[in-house]
Symmetry: C2
Subunit: 182 residues, 2 copies
DNA sequence: GTCTATACAAAGATAGAC
DNA sequence: GTCTATCTTTGTATAGAC
């Protein structure tokens, strides 16, 4: 399950074989179908949900303890950039690659990714509201953070540079200042 | 080639079979290896570059003729949102899915996607500079546009909603205003 | 030179031995 | 109940008929 998340994140859903997963996890092949009778799709579903939900806590790590909105956003993007560099631009969003792969091809998995993004947005909205934003503005800013992060991951991983992460950070900060000014 | 681009965009690189491509294109299987001796990787390389470079002209369509920076950006995001809705959230960026899939698994294709993004950034920087921004600011704003679009595609396709596109648009507009004010 | 037919490996899935 | 061995399909790639 841990190994699956890692492989899906780096190689995608269609790019990861079940044999590869059991080999990596040092588990016998048959046991996979014991724990996941629904096969690859059930495994994918559960991996998306668990690894996605795990990321919800990043809001608590980076944003909740921040002294103000702007510094919270800046440290979030800085943290994402560091992770990218430390892992050789491999580890980024746990579900982005899979989300794009399945969006038009597998409805069950598409819904799983949608549920994860929805959870992130709800959590972020709640967190940003504590900084004095209206519910509407807090939601818009959260979506801005998530979309900018996701887009930055695409460009950073392709270009092997953190420049897009910095540009994305400055952009969201500008929006945060604008919303905070009212 | 046209059919390949369509399939790669919707199903990804690993998710698209060569037989699927020749069937869709109503071409005999053998002819694929006649035109692409390098097999799937060469085909992928050429599809990424050609479909990616084709998108460069979107800068000329949406941004160049715009009366000002903000309305140009707004019409770009609005256009992306319309395309998404019209195609049932299938067609978005021609290379995003593939870019994430190959970023850590296929160096040749990763470079192809990087070359495309670099071309977009250079083209956008040039376009934005005409609106009076410094080269540095024009580049930062271009990267903001591309990352926000890419991230919005991820969320919009997963959630089947254009809300992220609207949030991304407002965010980039805020940054554009900030840069223009100096 | 085009294309059909096939080779060979790897995919997902299952049956049956332990 | 766990896992090995196998089945079927699908993938990429190629050889050879026309």
């Amino acid at each position: 399950m841990q190994a699956s998340a890692e492989l899906f994140r780096r190689n995608g859903y269609t790019g990861t074989g079940l044999k590869q997963i059991t080999t990596e996890a040092q588990a016998p092949f048959g046991s996979l179908y014991h724990f996941f009778p629904g096969g690859k799709e059930q495994l994918g579903d559960e991996v998306i949900r668990s690894s996605g939900m795990l990321y919800t806590q990043l809001f608590d790590i980076y944003l909740t303890p921040a002294p103000d909105l702007v510094s919270g956003i800046e440290s979030t993007f800085a943290g994402a950039g560091e992770t990218l560099v430390e892992t050789g631009y491999a580890d980024a969003c746990p579900i982005a690659t899979v989300a794009l792969e399945v969006a038009s091809t597998n409805e069950r998995l598409r819904e799983a990714t949608a549920d994860v993004f929805t959870a992130w947005i709800d959590k972020g909205t709640e967190t940003f509201a504590r900084f004095g934003l209206s519910a509407e503005d807090a939601r818009a800013l959260t979506i801005a953070v998530v979309t900018s992060l996701e887009g930055a991951f695409v460009l950073c991983r392709s270009l092997r540079s953190t420049e897009p992460m910095a540009a994305a950070s400055a952009t969201v900060v500008a929006r945060a200042r604008e919303l905070q000014a009212g």
